[in-house]
Every structure is written in C-alpha cells, then in structure tokens.
Amino acid sequence: MSNFVGIVIVSHSPNVAKGTADMVREMVGDEVKVAYCGGNADGGLGTDVATIHNAIDSVFGAQGVAVLVDLGGAETNSEMAIEMMDEERQKKIVICNAPIVEGAVMAATEAAGGGSLDEVRATAEEFLS
C-alpha cells in the first residue's frame, strides 16, 4: 500500500486527462500514484462511471484518494463512482473543488510531501482563494 494520497484526474477529454497526468509526473515525480480517465464509453467526450471507479480503485491506498474533475458531468459521475465504493473507502475519497490541471499538480505536490487527505484537498483548493 502506498504511503501517499493517490490522485485521480477525471476530464471529459482523454487528451486533457492524459496531459494533466503527464504534467503531474513531470513536475512532481513518480512516487505519488496518479490515475487518469476521460471520455465516455463510446470514446467520445464525456465521463464514465465505471472507468472512474476503476481509476480510483487503481490508486487507492491507506491515505485515500483526491479526485480532480473538470466540468459538470465529471463531478456528478465521480460522486456516483465514489458512492459505489464500500463505505469505509468512501470516507477516504474526496473531490477537490479546484481547477483540474493546477489542482492536480498542487494536490500531487502536497501528497508527495506526505500530506494527509485533508491537507491535499486544502492545498488544491487554495487556487480558488
């Protein structure tokens, strides 16, 4: 199990999701687990509950997971995916109210420094204030 908070990036666009994850790896490094997903089940723009669920699952560890989303449906579908997890896990997954690219980089930076899930979320959300 990872000692760091995991990061999940959920965009409507597969390219934005991958590009954001690339930026996180480049700027923060590899020690934090990052998963990304984008696109609907047909491969068009959109988000997919099952794919989000799997992405969260793939980086889940003792410290929990911070999810970064882009627009409307990405958040609603992420909420749905989280509610499908068992209750103990749900308590350790948060959706950050932050811009997706900046939020993901900030969240991963905080996570790489050993920050708790609350600290990771707070750091990501600082961008709004």
């Binding site: 609907n40 089940a41 047909d42 068009g44 723009l45 959109g46 988000t47 997919d48 509950v49 099952a50 627009l71 409307g72 449906g73 609603t76 579908n77 909420e79 749905m80």
Partner: protein, 202 residues
Amino acid sequence: MEPETIKALIGRTHAVILAHAEELTDLDQAIGDGDHGINMKRGFDAIAAAADTIAELPCGKALEKAGMTLVMSVGGASGPLYGSLLMAMGKAMPAEPASPGDFANAFQAGVEAVMKRGKSQGGEKTMLEVLLPVAASLKDADALDIGALRETADEGLASTKDMKATKGRASFLGERSIGHLDPGARSSALLIHAVCDVIEGK
C-alpha cells in the same frame, strides 16, 4: 407490474428520446455543451437493449436496474441525474404498488434524489422545473389525471424559457441563458409524456 407494461414503458420512452435526440442536442448547443441528445440516446438505447431482463423484475427492481443502466452508459451529468431519479423511485416503490399514492410517493423520492445529486432546489432553469410541479401534482391529486399531468409538465418546461440559469454549464452564460428552453427540462417533459402515452394505451 406486468412485464408487458414495463416493456411498453421502455419502448415508448426509448422511441420518444430517439425521435427528439436532435432537438435535445440543439437546445443543449444553445446553452450547454451540446451532448444532451446523444447522451440520452445512448442511455435509453442501453435500457432498450436490456428490456427483456428488466421487464422480468418486480416494478421497484426494474426501476433500479434501468437507473443503474443510465448511470453506467450515459457519459454526461444526465446519467447520474436520471439514474438517481429512477434508482430512488425503485427503492421507494412497494413490492406490490397498488394505488396512485404509491407511485406519487416513489416519484417524490426520486425527485428528492435528483435535488440532492444536482445540489438544486428548483428555480435554477433545470429539469427540476418540470419534475417538482409534476411530483406536487401527483401528490395532491385524489385520482390520476393524465391531462393535468401533461399540462403541468408543459407549464414547467415553458417556465424555463425566461429563467436565468444559475446551475450547471448554462450558468456560465448568465443573462444570455434567458430566452432558451432548458434541455434537461425538455427531456423530462418528453419522458413524462411518454409515460402518460403508455398509461393511456397509446
């Protein structure tokens, strides 16, 4: 509920969404991201593909299964919103729904789930402008009045035209969202008419 009735409901709602997919997309292009028609079509295609399985289930379970199918197939916000509506309705439906009151209570539970999921109370130019008055009219009625139900849905839809969106992507447009019907309210009205069609045996 008879499997044939469930199949008829699935068939009619699917047909209505297919027939209006382009219109929903046009409405959504005006004030949203232009994917409402194609997303709803994808969702109702998936329900139609599972119609035989869903129709064998008791009414509540059939609603839950249909809702989950939408959640897993739509790809936009309308999946979890309509999915939550049907799943909460299914959970609230008694095993043997007997009276219009049973349906009214289940629908009310569904609409509350949409409010929770969408973090909206209504009045924000959304599907709730149709769903909330329909829920109220179902609750207040002594007997099912299909004509009144259709009228309530249409009035709710029409009310979205002059509203300013403060929820969802349309809210980015602010004042410019005024003058357009809300696509989610339109699809809600369409679905309510489709259910009314089945009840009336059309």
